[in-house]
């Protein structure tokens, strides 16, 4: 398949800090590609380059065949961009914001209403309300409408869900899936690992590098080693005990459980864990073998990277 976005060997540094380190990837039509990584991992720099706001030190990128450096006016008039802090005019109403962003692209709300219909129905009752008076989730929806209203060829969403509550986040991802099904590829960045599974493909980005880029299913299926979950009321103590045991790759707390990564599933080490917990913990506990989630995978890649 012909790629829609193509980035080759992008690098960018600020002073001594290498923000983006030789990043290459492709985005195909009709997919949601997620860049997942913590703050400072290079996501924003990458988005600024793709949206033509920044020229990389080396490497190049094209969107729909246009070069992000040379052909920036063409790209600017055909992409939709939603920056991290929903950049709206707080003193303008919902409708006025939307109209402005439609009009500067020479379009109108009426002309492209189909584009935003799914998202906007929830916002419509607040059309006259000032954008500044909306809740976080509503602002996020409005910002998405503003990025969509001129019928862009591709959407760039830079951390659209940061600081938004869990329920709004789920709704937002439902919207993104609809938009993709409508034929607009989406490039999205997020620090929330649990959103990875909503993407068609994800790139794990850390320290300016893409550690791995593939479908979330593939990444999870290729988790190296075996994973155990331990549930106990004495989590803090258990975690300290487990960290002492040799032959364990990592011990991380995960919600109500502790995840232990083993290089491979062997009975002796499981017995040893059982013995230690049996001896030291005063309450009941459980040990179960589990399938990794995306965050387990990210943690594994981070650990591998820091060991390099």
């Amino acid at each position: 398949m012909q790629s829609f976005i193509s980035a080759k060997n992008l690098s960018k540094s600020y002073g001594d800090t290498l923000a983006l380190d030789d990043v290459s990837f492709q985005v195909y039509p009709n997919e949601i590609v997620g860049f997942i990584g913590p703050d400072g991992s290079g996501k924003s720099t990458l988005f600024q380059i793709l949206t033509t706001l920044l020229i990389p030190d080396s490497g190049s990128a094209t969107i729909a065949g246009f070069d992000t450096g040379r052909d920036f006016p063409k790209i600017r008039s055909s992409i939709g961009y939603m920056p991290g802090r929903f950049s709206l005019y707080p003193d303008l109403s919902v409708e006025e914001n939307l109209r402005f962003f439609a009009n500067i692209f020479g379009s109108s709300i009426e002309e492209n209403y189909e584009m935003i219909k799914g998202v906007y129905t929830l916002l419509a009752p607040f059309a006259k309300r000032k954008a500044g008076a909306l809740s976080g989730g509503m602002k996020q929806k409005l910002a998405l409408c503003c990025a969509l209203i001129h019928k862009p060829l591709v959407l760039f969403l830079d951390e659209p869900t940061t600081g938004v509550d869990a329920v709004s986040r789920t709704e937002f991802w439902d919207n993104l899936v609809q938009i993709r099904d409508g034929g607009i590829p989406i490039v999205v960045s997020t620090p929330y690992m649990d959103e990875a599974t909503r993407c068609d493909r994800v790139a794990m980005i850390y320290g300016g590098k893409i550690m791995q880029m593939d479908t979330p299913e593939y990444i999870i299926a290729n988790y190296q080693g075996s994973l155990l979950a331990i549930r106990t009321q004495e989590r803090y103590l258990a975690k300290q005990l487990l960290s002492q045991i040799k032959g364990i790759d990592s011990v991380f707390t995960f919600g109500d459980a502790i995840h232990i990564s083993l290089p491979e599933r062997t009975e002796p080490i499981i017995d040893e864990i059982d013995a230690v917990l049996q001896r030291e913990l005063s309450s009941t506990y459980s040990i179960t073998e589990i399938l990794p989630n995306f965050e387990d995978c990210f943690l594994q890649f981070m650990r591998q990277k820091s060991h390099e």
Partner: protein, 388 residues
């Protein structure tokens, strides 16, 4: 063009949505003009002068009476020179007029120094104004009584109220030297000189502040990024920002001019249309300067600081509003050439006070257009369409 109107409409909404800021933008110049207009007067409404009349003859008593009748100063009669000097030293009076013992005789005989004026020059503005007033009053008196005679007055300027000058520079101060100034401003009203300067300062600050803040606000909220990633080009953004604020500025111009004409009794000797056109040009220049500031400043706070501090001083000090440009050292005079307010003040004086024909200030207008053009070009150049 459609894009531009969309942008202008958005800016107008911003302005109307924030009535508090709009009110400040309109009230601030009003208050400033009123305050400065009343405080920054170089004329004297009530300065005391001591008169030591050694002659006490018919004519000298008439002269003292004439001075006492003047509205601008109070006359205190001193009975000896030491008494008068003590008053000068204590600051009670700002000048001593000594009338020679043989005032009548010498005057008739056209002989020298029947009058001596001693001025406290610790406040040079006050001293020179007093000198002018007194000379004018005495001049009037003289021409009425001795139409043929030339008036000799000896003026001494003393520092810090010290009545014995270190170098007694005695000279003949004739009314002739003052005449050109009296020509346009016969009442010596200093508001005539200060108001054009004030208008230029207030417009400069308000205009530059408005654009620089509105643009840096877009940077702070992040909307600037979205604007950049849109088909809008920098020129559209600049014009879109300037046009609405130009309207607000013209509202300010209207208020300020109304104040100038009504409260301060400024004349309008020349064309009203020219006055408005030139003010429009000057506002555009100031707005563009604000835009230039905001292309460099990252935050609203910084933009405000630079607009206020960075423009206030040069505009007040180098526009000729307070200190005459011809008294400045040459290098400083050269700097004033780049100060838009200098040209605007000069044009205002031509139009409002002198009523000169356009030819007299055509050059000034040209320079102002030139400066505005350069500022807009610089803004366009430094308006970053990308990050670094």
């Amino acid at each position: 063009m459609k894009n531009l109107m969309v942008f202008v409409r958005k800016e107008m909404l911003h302005i109307l949505r924030d009535p508090k800021s709009l009110l400040i933008m309109i009230l601030l110049p009003l208050v400033e003009i009123l305050l400065f207009g009343f405080v920054l007067r170089f004329e004297i409404n009530s300065a005391n002068i001591a008169v030591y009349d050694m002659a006490k003859q018919t004519k000298s008593i008439q002269l003292v009476q004439r001075l006492e009748g003047g509205k601008r100063f109070q006359v205190i009669v001193a009975n000896s020179m030491p008494e008068a000097e003590a008053m000068l030293l204590s600051g009670e009076v700002k000048a001593i007029l000594t009338i020679g013992a043989d005032f009548d005789q010498k005057a008739v005989a056209k002989m020298e120094s029947p009058l001596q004026l001693l001025l406290d020059a610790s406040d040079p503005n006050l001293a020179s104004t007093l000198n002018t007033y007194l000379s004018a009053t005495i001049n009037d008196f003289w021409t009425e009584n001795y139409p043929q005679n030339h008036l000799p007055i000896i003026t001494e300027l003393s520092q810090n109220g010290d009545p014995t000058p270190t170098s007694p520079s005695r000279h003949l101060a004739t009314s002739l030297t003052i005449e050109p100034m009296l020509y346009y401003n016969p009442l010596l009203k200093s508001v005539y000189a200060t108001i054009p300067g004030l208008i230029s300062v207030v417009l400069m600050l308000i205009c530059a502040l408005m654009t620089s803040i509105s643009l840096t606000r877009e940077k702070e909220t992040g909307t600037m990024n979205v604007l950049l990633i849109s088909p809008l080009n920098p020129l559209q953004i600049i014009i879109g920002k300037l046009l609405p604020y130009l309207l607000v500025s013209m509202l300010n111009v209207a208020i300020i001019l109304t104040l100038a004409f009504t409260v301060f009794g400024m004349p309008l000797a020349g064309s009203f249309t020219m006055l408005i056109l030139v003010s429009l040009l000057y506002c555009l220049c100031a707005l563009a300067l604000g835009f230039l500031i905001s292309t460099k400043a990252k935050t609203q706070q910084l933009a405000m600081m630079v607009s206020l501090a960075g423009l206030m001083l040069p505009t007040t000090l180098l526009s000729g509003m307070i200190y005459p440009i011809q008294n400045m050292p040459t290098w400083l005079q050269n700097i004033t050439l780049a100060i838009p307010a200098r040209w605007y003040v000069s044009i205002l004086k031509h139009i409002m006070i002198k009523g000169s024909p356009i030819a007299a200030y055509g050059m000034d207008i040209f320079v102002l257009i030139f400066i505005t053009g350069i500022i807009i070009a610089l803004s366009l150049k430094s308006f970053k369409i990308r990050f670094r």
